[in-house]
Symmetry: C2
Subunit: 151 residues, 2 copies
Amino acid sequence: MVTAPENSGDPGRELAEQLNRRLRNVVLLLRQVAADEPVTSQQASVLGSLEGGPLRMTALAAEHGVRLPTMTAQVNRLERDGLVTRGRDGQDARVVTVEITPRGRTLLLATRERRIAFLTGRLAELGEERRAAIAAALPALDMLFEPPGRT
Amino acid sequence: MVTAPENSGDPGRELAEQLNRRLRNVVLLLRQVAADEPVTSQQASVLGSLEGGPLRMTALAAEHGVRLPTMTAQVNRLERDGLVTRGRDGQDARVVTVEITPRGRTLLLATRERRIAFLTGRLAELGEERRAAIAAALPALDMLFEPPGRT
DNA sequence: CCAGCTAACTTAGACTGGCTAAGTAACCGA
DNA sequence: TCGGTTACTTAGCCAGTCTAAGTTAGCTGG
């Protein structure tokens, strides 16, 4: 097909184009799946960060790649909906900690379960060989989508 | 490690969990990369749809999985920025067609080029073996992220 | 032939989620 | 104790999504 011979100077340029075209479908599908959830994907993502224990605002913002004011607004909404609570740090009175509530935890688990069930269903349709291909590519995909590495 | 023996009833459940965890990084990285572009990823996506010729509003909305009013707003912004023009269909006076302008086309190509360059760079760091693994998984990934198929 | 339904858009209004700039309160160092 | 820095919030802007309601054009059945 399009596997032209002049790939020489750019190993993976062709592959990059292929991936780029596919990424649109990924985004579309993610939106579709997230559509009828009780929490948005951002909210679920933040709740996921809090699963292991409370975090401060700065840590949350950094982990999600957003500015502090964005996280303030996000936590406001989560708090309003009873999914997290704000707390204070003993050491430093400036610090605000955010903790997931039991309700938040329940919602998070249910949401994750639905997402995984969806993916599992899709994977089941693929057949063993294709699943193996994806599994084999996981380490590579990990590196490919690794958070923007510093140097 | 976690590859427990009771995978039997659910081929791919484990893989689904792996993928689910990775998807967050994909989203994060996409946001990061899109951050300093002159057009948003949605705008670029719509422009991409128009590359092959004018489309009507309904077709655009369907293709991007959004409601008509959303597409109206999107096209308003694109038109305001001189990237598309609205037209009328000869047959049916209710129909609005949207066409990409030369400026829109230029911007689209430049944006796509930067995205592909970014991916190419990432892929170059991976090494031949990992690139091959990703290439081998492409057909499977295609099926996995295929738009929600109706039966 | 026209009355009323349907289809294609747009408008209005609300919400999430992102940003910058500016405000406030607490910490820390000289 | 004063001045700078840090941690967060507030205010205000914009993109992008939705639903509900409006407008205009096509279509159909008496």
